[in-house]
């Protein structure tokens, strides 16, 4: 070994080399491609297959949904005529005109058109009520109100151009301006408790806005429909299930055996049956269990059932959070001499809820999606609205456009919720690290 070593001509570098650019294949676009798409033979095959899938699916979809689509037509026949005239016999395209015509119905259901500012206002107030819960400062509220006003202005301009008329200054606009300005001026973290009062007041305000009373014209629940109904069921379920879920979770973890048994049976029962059977109960059985002659509205019955349903799931999520807290926290609370409710309110729940936030948001998303099931018991949510719309001979024959529209609307809401939950998780993790 040493001999051969002695015979080799030694090479000693005398100066330091200048740094060389990396090989072409490992940097820039090419490098990215080789690393991420073609790193091995199997990887290349998979990439090619994936590209083939995209090429197979995407152009046809874009052609149908965008290029060959019709936005303005009176009926499905007119849609088909326009498409045939423009793109030849046999061409197919989306007839979005049905959504254009029925947009108001999809949003508000049968809510009287002259009163639709009320759900609008309720929606604005919902944002106002949600921001103090979701964020630390009121800045997002100012941003949201700004976006809302801008959208409204754009819509007004569009309506002006196309010859329609849009009311620019309505209750919604005024509310948006007021709360936007308030949020800008008094939006710091310190004022958050005051804003939270608005949150607590919201359910009452929303109730009177939507159903009427206090001098506002009453609107029957049977007129609720479309995404308004989805929102009413979803928001009520979410708002009602959280406190109920906390109580159930505490009950299930309490050391009072009877209370514990009651809560456990309730939770397991509700979680053990599909929501649709509970909705059947709401639609056909609940009236039997009320005093003779009582007559709850179906929307109200569904609200009750959905809230109970969600609260059982919520209870399990929160129970998980309670179980994850170290035992020392409970003992510390006891050591401080706090009674049960004090220790829960001040020590345990704030921490447990924080841990369970991702689960809570997931339950919310699930609940929001599950509201579509009410169409099976003939409530007029977006899916339920499809039937009377398609029974009108003008639109009979359209299917995909409506499904896609509804799916898209749900996607936006649920995706936003899941992103918010991720944002919150990172924020909490950062807070933990401190």
């Amino acid at each position: 070994m040493s001999d051969t070593h002695a015979e080799t001509v030694a090479y000693v570098a005398k100066t330091q080399y200048d740094p060389q650019p990396p090989p072409v294949a490992s940097s820039g676009v090419l490098g990215w491609l080789t690393q991420n798409l073609f790193s091995s033979i199997s990887n290349t095959i998979v990439t090619v297959l994936a590209i083939a899938l995209i090429i197979y699916m995407l152009p046809g979809m874009i052609e149908w949904a965008v290029l060959h689509s019709v936005w303005n037509a009176e009926s499905i026949r007119e849609c088909r005529e326009i498409i045939t005239n423009a793109f030849g016999e046999g061409a197919t395209g989306a007839c979005w005109a049905v959504i254009h015509e029925r947009f108001g119905q999809f949003m508000y259901g049968y809510y009287p058109p002259s009163l639709r500012w009320r759900p609008d206002l309720a929606a604005v107030l919902l944002i106002v009520a949600m921001v103090p819960v979701l964020f630390r400062t009121m800045r997002p509220l100012a941003v949201a109100m700004g976006v809302l006003l801008a959208a409204k202005a754009l819509f007004a301009v569009y309506a002006e151009l196309t010859g329609g008329n849009a009311e620019l200054v309505g209750p919604t606009t005024i509310a948006a301006v007021i709360f936007g300005v308030l949020a800008l001026v008094f939006g710091s973290e310190k004022t958050r408790p005051y804003w939270l009062w608005l949150t607590f007041a919201y359910p009452v305000a929303a109730y009177f806005l939507l159903w009427g009373g206090l001098g506002l014209e009453t609107v029957e629940s049977s007129r609720f429909g479309g995404f308004l109904l989805t929102a009413v069921i979803g928001v009520t379920g979410i708002a009602g299930s959280l406190p109920l879920g906390i109580l159930l979770a505490l009950g299930r973890r309490s050391n009072l055996p009877i209370l514990k048994a009651i809560c456990t049976i309730f939770i397991e029962f509700i979680r053990g049956v599909p929501l649709i059977t509970l909705l059947f109960v709401a639609s056909t059985l609940l009236n039997y269990f009320l005093p003779p002659g009582t007559n709850f509205n179906i929307v109200l019955r569904v609200l009750i059932m959905v809230t109970l349903f969600a609260s059982a799931y919520m209870a399990e999520v929160i129970r998980g959070g309670l179980a994850a807290l170290p035992k020392g926290q409970y003992e510390a609370a006891d050591a401080l001499g706090l009674d049960y409710w004090q220790s829960m309110r001040l020590i345990i729940l704030p921490q447990a809820l924080k841990i369970s936030i991702p689960g809570i948001v997931n339950t919310f998303i699930g609940l929001f999606k599950d509201t579509t099931l009410v169409s099976i018991i003939a409530l007029q949510d977006p899916l339920g609205l499809m039937k009377p719309i398609l029974s009108n001979s003008t639109w009979n024959g359209i299917v995909w456009e409506l499904y896609i529209f509804i799916a898209f609307m749900f996607f936006i809401c649920c995706f936003a919720m899941s992103r918010y939950s991720m944002f919150l998780e990172t924020r909490l993790r950062a807070a933990d690290r401190r």
């Binding site: 690393q35 991420n36 798409l37 790193s39 990887n43 998979v46 990439t47 994936a50 590209i51 899938l53 995209i54 050391n255 009072l256 055996p257 009877i258 209370l259 009651i262 397991e268 029962f269 979680r271 053990g272 049956v273 599909p274 929501l275 649709i276 059977t277 059947f280 109960v281 056909t284 059985l285 009236n287 039997y288 269990f289 009320l290 005093p291 003779p292 998303i365 999606k369 599950d370 509201t371 579509t372 099931l373 169409s375 099976i376 899916l383 299917v399 995909w400 499904y403 509804i406 799916a407 749900f410 996607f411 649920c414 995706f415 899941s418």
Partner: protein, 398 residues
Amino acid sequence: MAVAASTETPAFRFEMLWRDERYRSLTIQAIAMIVLMLGLTWLVNNAIENLAALGKTFDFGFLSQPANYDINQQLIDYTSRSSNARAALVGILNTLLVAFLGCVTATIIGIAAGVARLSNNWLVARLMTVYVEAFRNVPLLIWILLTASIVNTSLPSPRDYRGLDTGPVVVTNRGIYIPQPNFGEGSLILLIIFALSIAAIFMVRAWAKRRQESTGEQAPVFLIGLGLLIVPSLIAFFLLGRPISLTLPELAGFNFQGGIQLRDSLIALWVALSLYTGAFIAEIVRAGILSVSKGQSEAAFALGLRPNRAMNLVILPQALRVIIPPLISQFLNLTKNSSLAIAVGYMDATGTLGGITLNQTGREMECILLLMGFYLIVSLSISAVMNLYNNRVRLVER
């Protein structure tokens, strides 16, 4: 702040019921119990009064009456003269069938998608993200309706096969037809032989593992297993004179006859449930894999394991402990979600017992109670399995 010197029990006073912690819990529970009992009595009383006012009774006699309607997918014999109870049973079996099929495929899809989301192939990872987000954020009911719509409108109808030669598997918009095995004489022996060879495979594997652990030599387990699986059964098959034959689907009259028909409603529901639940399982699998610390995979690579083996031998076994509990609760969700079958006309328990039987007999209370009872039993059994598994895992823990 005086330290209590005396240990003797103070005389019972009335306000101790809520002031003294020892009695307070009893008081609270007693009140809860009384309120619950009163509430239940109130509800039952109302129900009795309401039913009486309507002249209705509460009895399950209708279950033995003829159902009077037909069901397309029957796993057991059923005609329109059979009883409502039998119709319910047909529906229950259909629920269990789609739930079982759905759980199997959802798991496969979920694991594949979850692993693919972590793939270092950028395109595949993105595609899987699109899949997962699209299914997680859009209601299942819309997916079921859309899938049914796709199955019905894009697949060929049986009429399109007229005059064409069809193979053993025919795909139509009325369902997929696959060959049906006919079990002739001697097929029992064949099945026993097949079962025995499968048992033999497991024994060989166990033996190979022991040998590898003691001597380090690897046996060609795969080849031996394949041979064991095929050869004995094949020999027996010919020796016994081909006891099992296949009936192929053939177009006769309006429909394909012969063969097993997987109906369009079953397929639509199955596909939609599998894809939807698969998206959730993918997230569970991803979280499970990410929960295994990076050091573990690095250690596996350092030992010279190839990525596949590192995944199978090191990462998955550790990830499974995190994955399985939520996975089973997804199975539970899938089973409950299969009740959306009524949207596509799949005759599951909700469609028969909670659907047509309820409509035709007008016995809402009885039907819905039975339906809830059925789902409750299924859910509780699955939960029981989950608890068993959790306990086992806990015992294995250090």
